[in-house]
Every structure is written in structure tokens, then in C-alpha cells.
Point group: C2
Chain length 476, copies 2
């Protein structure tokens, strides 16, 4: 029996396979029919490249084969031959074509050009298109690159809880988790009685694994999480998802500078890994018909040499400036901003965008933000006004990394909790990390979808995760 | 300045470091004090092995150093020397010891022997113990091995949604997700009005990513998920968690036999990877003071050569039998079971345990279960009574893998949904996968914590995940 190979294996073996019989399984992309033979174009998901198969009219089921609609599932045996066609070195001469799963005229993906908006409506079929084949392979490559990067550096992957009684950011925009029957809620003095709920308390979906990661880092040294996180804010933008994946390293004995250095190394590693392993996919995505508009208003795809641009970033020194200097640059820019740029004002997307896209024309690390709009756990600077926070901003996407050195002094942490008027009763264990064997430590969170947007040049996070969750949308 | 190295790097370089000055950062395990010098035992989480450091009374802060309690965070500079001690090749002669984070008498982990039950109460400190250091490093190694295994075989990792409108198993025991204010629920005709909820419908936490993985496999060929899954059943046992991690590969053009083969290869790969990369950890765990009782009643740790036992499994052929034969073996065993063993009876833990532990004395693959107690999506056998399902049972744990070939025929799938009296309105897209380009396909789910229990020989899933979620427990 002929050996079954994936298209990736076939193209990797290439001319070594010439005159050999091979079995392939996949889906037809297109059929070009003539009386004496037809060209079948096949893909099996393993690679961006399609295999061209010549089906001779001598095949017993030639009429059926030549009439296949795109999307048809087939198993084909044939002989690998040098290709006469342009841009491909090998093709297959079909000996037997079995139609496994036919397609009828109703199949939504028959016609060639579909808008990304339309494809979101049929997200269960997106994996069958060239564009999404490319995206899912890049996503896979970069998740593997993530584990490889941290593994090579001695980090220990940990799984932090998804269901939590905490509000890690003190932000409050969380999804509630319950097994109570909402039509018959148990009440105690007029209020919902959570003691009867599954966990005996109010619980939500976690917005970050950081607090638990800190507990693991103080003992294991270097740890990282890579898991789903949740935001229930009503943000219907091209860069917000209600459910997204986040990478959060946390390292004992690290100060802010080392946190920033780690984040830069990781971003560069991701870009380099994509360039080394997914060039076919990146080329395809960058030569797609242009998207109108993008995450931040200008289309990344309008830039012809986007691949060269990210390649440069992988070798560049990232500019590092303080929040104070960043706001001064904005102030003096002469540009009209909607939001204020005085010291103490919150840095908005328009400011981030100006810094990364116009002023520095590349990624920027901004450090030492005013403590008032940063989380309680960030280490205070001696100035009493700022904290050891850092964000990394990239063109086209904005913030993709947010990190900080953590407050490791028990008393200062307790004061910060009081200042933010937070409830510390669930944080007893987090405070205890500062009580015994406390060490300087820090880490960051990288939004995986935003990093993917940046590297692929795609423009909407809904096209970067298989089944996006957004306000009023939990289909599939 | 002296080079900062992790203990793992130091032990890996070993005697090459002799007479070199090195900087280490970590936590003190113990101090043995005398007037002229003290032995400090240090660990930094990177390895099971501790570094012994000789602190001479000539150190300016000798009194403080010699009085450190275990758990103290330190930074130490010293010279690596050949060790005079037993079981270690190198040690360090301390030149400077900086106490970074002291510990007082209240620190719960000062005394040496703690029960696993007690340590669950202080899960935020577990990473500082030798036992849990070992477990988290094995967990990390096996998560990396999982990605490596599938990556090497051309699988594409996909992230399936956590928040879902579906009930993938038709089981019903799910956590609800909502942003509705439970004290002021919007009502429509006396019922909760979910159209006003965040997603505009009822949503829950996913029990499996399989259905979405199928949509991705039909296009990408080979995919796998590795993510958190949820069960809200009120099971307070040593092998149930409300939140656990599951690995779910799904492959187009696979039939049941190939699904089983993939599962066996994966289990063997995990065992081999642990033996090759975590031997120090496995040895430590297997020589811990014994646990009383285990997941299935007998302690795995009572077996002296547990490591040899799993090594054999990694090389063995797994026995494969049908459900029909398995129940007949139970029937004829002469053993008294609590639950019936006639054909059509559900296979219970006691039966699984008998088969794996007593009858076959090793892992068993059981296939072709009666359709009545299996999920709607499993492919029906021509006999009309059984489905192409398979479970893998291992001694000490029971079921660690459950898989099946999926029904790829639209009409049969629609009938199965009717027979199970399921609501198919949310499954339109899942049915469409069978409408256009349908192919035979299948996959399995492996409970990551159960696999870890099996490989480490630990006895309670609460000790295998950093912050376990169980009924009435969402602490940390």
C-alpha cells in the first residue's frame, strides 16, 4: 500500500519522492476541468502550500472527480512527479481518487473571496480557508515558541486557577461563576446566600494568574502561566476579547529592569520563531487583499514590507523612557490629543499610538507610572508618587505587555491596599508571601492575541482566536 | 562580580566549577550550627538537589547567619569546592551571606514533617517544600512533553472557548457564567431574562473542547487542545477536581484503532519523558514517607519499585479488549462486585480497578461500549447497540483517557441527538461539519492531573494542581 504522507512531509521531502507512490488525505481547494484531464488543488491543513494533482480522464470515476466542488474531502493515491507548473517543484499524477465527503452548492465557502466579517459568522468552517489555515498555524507555532522560550530559560510552567474568589487587578469587571438556580435563589436577610453556592462563596473568572504565580515563584524561582483570562467590560473594539490567552512569567529576585529585559527577549524570540518557522504563512497573510482600517486606524497591511519591519524589531534595541518623559514628549509634540497630557494624567491609546508609531516609530518601553492608576501590588518608588511598572507599546496594536516589580514589603503593601480601599480579607495568603522569606520579584503579562496581531499584521482580535467571545456573542 | 547561577546550572556544570566564585539566590532549607562554622542547606526551586554551603564564623554577620530559620531568603557568594559530604560531589564555601527575607517562629513550614492535608491549608507556601517542588517540576516537564509530543507529530495546538453556550457531553453538570446582578435579576414573564446577560444567552464553563476541536480538525487535519475544563458535580473524592486540565487531540481521517494507538504512544511518551528528565523528583516522591490509602484504596507508594513499574508500562503492549469481553471477565471472576456486571450495565470504578489491577495487572484499553451510556457524538457500530468508544484504565487511578471515533454521518448524528432527547438548536454548526466535506475522525481526552497522579505515584489530585478547586473550596 502507498505510504500516507502529509503535504508538509511531501514538500519537505520534495524531489526525493519523485516517481514514488504516495497517499494523501485532505480537502479540494479547486478543480480545473478539461476533457482529457483535470487539475485538482489539494490541502490537508499541514502547510500553506497546496499540492497540485493531475487527474486523468482514464480514472473510472473521472466525471465525478472532475465535478468535485471545492471543500470536498478526498483520499488520493498517486505518483509524485517533477512539476511543469510555475512556483512548485513537484506535483502528483493521480491513480485513484476516493471522494470521502462531498460538498453541495450550499457550502458557504465555495466562492473564492470572503470578507473576514462574513467568515466570523461561519467560524466553524474558517479552518478550511487559506487565510485561517495560516493564522492557526502561526498561533500554534507561537504557543510552542512560548513554552520553548521559557523552558530553555529554566522557567516552570504553572496552571493557576480560573475560578477565583479574588479580584486580582482590583478592577471589578469580572464574570460571576455560580451553580445557584437563578430562578430560585437562596436568600439570607434579603441578600443572595452565597454560602449555599458551589464554593460556599462568591466566585468569578480570573482576570490574571499573577497573584498565584507570585506564590509559586517564591519557592520555585522562575515560573510562568499560559492560560485563559477574562474581562467582562462591554468593549466592542478590534483589540478586546472577553476571553483571551495571557502569558505571565513571574521571577523571584528580579527587579524592574530584568522584567523589561525578559519581556523584550520574549517578544524578539516570538518574532524570530515566526520568521524561521512560518514564512509561508506570513507571506500569504501579508499579500492578502488589504483590510480597510486596522486596530489603530491605519492598516498594517498597507505597508509592503511588513515582514522586514518586524524582522528589524527582532534585532533592535527597544527604546525605554519613563512615564514622565513620555507625557512630556506628548505635551511638546504640538499634536492635538483628546485626553490631557499633564503629569498624572492617564496614558491613553492615542498617546501610546503617537509614541510608538509617530515619535519613536517602533516598540517603546514606558516605565514608572503614577501609582494612582496602577494596581495595588506594584512596588513603590522612593519618590512616593510612582510605581515600578512598565508597559511595552508596539505600532499598530498599542500595549502588548504590562508588567511591574511587585511590592515585597509587607507594611507598604498593606498601606497600598488601604489607599485603594480594597477588601483584604481574601488576600491573607498573598500578604503572607511578604511575611516569611520575602524577596524582590516581578513579572509581566503578555496578551497572546495582541502579540499575534502584531506579528501576523492582522487587524482584528476576533480573527486571531478560533471562537471569539465578545459582548452578545458566545456562538459555537 | 561573581556569576549568578541556578542550582540546576551548578549541579549540571559540577566539578568544572571547582574553585570558581558563584552567586546563588534562594531559600534556606536548614542550618546546622556550630561555634566555628555552620552548614547551610539551600534550594532555589530549579532542581530537587540542595546546595550545601559552609559558612565560616569569620563572616561579619555570622551570628545572624547561623541563627537563620528555614525558609529564610538569602543571596550568597562563595567558592565551589569538592564536597567531603556523602552523596554530593560539590559544595560551596560561603564568602558573603545577605539575608534578604527573614523568617520568624510563626512560619508554618519550620518543622520538618507536614501532612499533605496540612499543606493544602497553606497551598500558597507549598512550592517551598521538597515534595511540592518535585511535583511542580514534574508537572512542568509533562506539560512541555505534551506540547513536544504533538508538535513533533504535526499537530496544531488550538485554544477552544472556556465560556460556552453548549453542553458538550450532554451531562448538564456545569458552572453558570453571568454578569447579571443576582440581587436584581431582570425577568421576562417570571423567568430570568438572559437576553440581558453579557452574551445575550445562558452560558457555562466548558466541560470539553472536543466539539470545537472537531471543527478545527476538519480543515487542519491534526489538532489538540490543552486547557482547563470544569465539572460542577458534588464529588469530594481523591480523583475529582471541579477545575482540571485536559489534553484533547482530534484527528481527521482517524478511526478508533488509530485514536487508541495515539493515546498509548502519548502515555508512553509522558512516562519516558518523566524518567529521562525528572528522575531526581520521581526518586524523591517514591521515597517519601508513605501515604495511608490511595486513590483506589491501596497505596501506590507501598510498592517499592514503582519507578520500575511505570518504566515497564512505557515499553509494554497495552491489552485491548471490548466492553463485552471486559464485563464477561468481571462476571466470571468470582469476585463480588457492588454493581452488576451483565451486558449493558455501566462499567464502574470497581470493575475498572479489577481489570487493570488484578486481572491484567497493567493498563487496559476497553472499546465498543453500549451506546446508552456514552455521548451522542460517538460513531455507531453496525450492530446498532455499541459505539466506537475507548477508555484507557491504569492501576491506581482508573480511567485516564476517554476517546472515540465520532459519528461523521449527518443523519445518524441527528438521530442520536433525538434519541438522547438533546436540544440541537445550538449544535447547527456541529451538524454542518457533517454536511460538507465530512470525514471519519476521532480523538480522546486525557485528564492531565490523573496522568500526573499515575506517573508520580501521588494519591490525591488536590496535591497535583497548585490551587485545587473542589466543592466549598475556592481559597487562594
Amino acid at each position: 500500500m502507498a505510504k500516507c504522507l502529509s503535504l508538509k512531509e511531501i514538500f519537505s521531502l520534495g524531489e526525493k519522492l519523485i516517481d514514488q507512490e504516495v497517499l494523501v488525505k485532505g480537502w479540494i481547494r479547486s478543480v480545473r476541468k478539461s476533457k482529457t484531464f483535470s487539475f485538482l488543488v489539494l490541502n490537508d491543513g499541514s502547510t500553506q502550500n497546496n499540492l497540485q494533482i493531475i487527474a486523468d480522464s482514464g480514472l473510472p470515476n473521472y466525471e465525478a472527480v472532475a465535478s468535485m466542488l471545492s471543500g470536498t474531502a478526498v483520499i488520493i493515491t498517486g505518483i509524485i512527479k517533477q512539476s511543469g507548473g510555475k512556483g512548485q517543484s513537484i506535483e502528483m499524477h493521480g491513480k485513484a481518487v476516493t471522494i470521502v465527503g462531498p460538498v453541495d452548492e450550499e457550502f458557504p465557502l465555495q466562492k473564492k473571496a470572503h470578507s473576514l466579517e462574513f467568515l466570523r459568522e461561519v467560524a466553524h468552517l474558517r479552518a478550511r480557508t487559506q487565510t485561517f489555515g495560516a493564522i492557526w498555524r502561526v498561533r500554534n507555532a507561537l504557543q510552542f515558541a512560548t513554552h520553548k522560550f521559557f523552558n530553555e530559560r529554566g522557567f516552570i510552567n504553572i496552571h493557576t486557577p480560573i475560578i477565583t474568589g479574588l479580584d486580582a487587578e482590583g478592577a471589578g469587571e469580572m464574570f460571576k461563576v455560580t451553580t445557584l438556580h437563578l430562578d430560585h435563589l437562596p436568600k439570607d436577610k434579603g441578600q443572595v446566600d452565597y454560602s449555599q453556592d458551589y464554593f460556599g462563596q462568591e466566585t468569578s473568572l480570573s482576570v490574571s494568574g499573577q497573584l498565584q504565580a507570585e506564590a509559586m515563584a517564591i519557592g520555585l524561582g522562575k515560573v510562568y502561566t499560559f492560560g485563559p483570562t477574562f474581562r467582562s467590560e462591554n468593549s466592542n473594539t478590534k483589540r478586546h476579547l472577553s476571553e483571551f490567552w495571557m502569558v505571565e512569567p513571574e521571577v523571584a529576585f528580579f527587579e524592574l529592569e530584568q522584567v523589561a529585559e525578559l519581556a523584550v527577549d520574549y517578544i524578539k524570540y516570538l518574532i524570530t520563531y515566526a520568521l524561521d518557522n512560518c514564512m509561508d504563512e506570513l507571506l500569504f497573510l501579508n499579500h492578502r487583499p488589504m483590510e480597510k482600517g486596522s486596530v489603530l486606524g491605519t492598516s498594517i497591511n498597507e505597508k509592503e514590507n511588513y515582514i522586514e519591519e518586524i524582522r528589524k524589531v527582532a534585532q533592535a534595541t527597544f527604546t525605554q523612557i519613563s512615564y514622565t518623559d513620555a507625557m512630556e514628549i506628548c505635551s511638546k509634540s504640538g499634536k492635538k490629543f483628546e485626553f490631557p497630557t499633564h503629569w498624572g494624567a492617564e496614558m491613553q491609546t492615542e498617546h501610546e499610538r503617537y509614541l510608538a508609531e509617530e515619535h519613536f516609530k517602533g516598540p517603546v518601553i514606558v516605565t514608572d507610572y503614577p501609582k494612582d492608576f496602577k494596581a495595588f501590588y506594584m512596588k513603590q518608588n522612593p519618590d512616593g508618587k510612582t510605581v515600578r511598572a512598565m508597559d511595552i507599546l508596539v505600532p499598530g496594536v498599542g500595549e502588548i505587555v504590562g508588567g511591574s516589580q511587585r511590592e515585597d514589603n509587607l507594611e507598604k503593601l498593606q498601606n497600598a491596599i488601604k489607599e485603594k480601599k480594597m477588601n483584604d480579607k481574601d488576600l491573607w495568603w498573598y500578604l503572607e508571601l511578604r511575611k516569611w522569606g520575602s524577596v524582590p520579584h516581578g513579572g509581566f503579562g503578555l496578551g497572546f492575541e495582541r502579540a499575534l496581531l502584531y506579528i501576523t499584521g492582522m487587524t482584528n482580535v476576533r480573527d486571531i482566536i478560533p471562537f471569539p467571545r465578545t459582548p452578545k456573542n458566545a456562538t459555537f
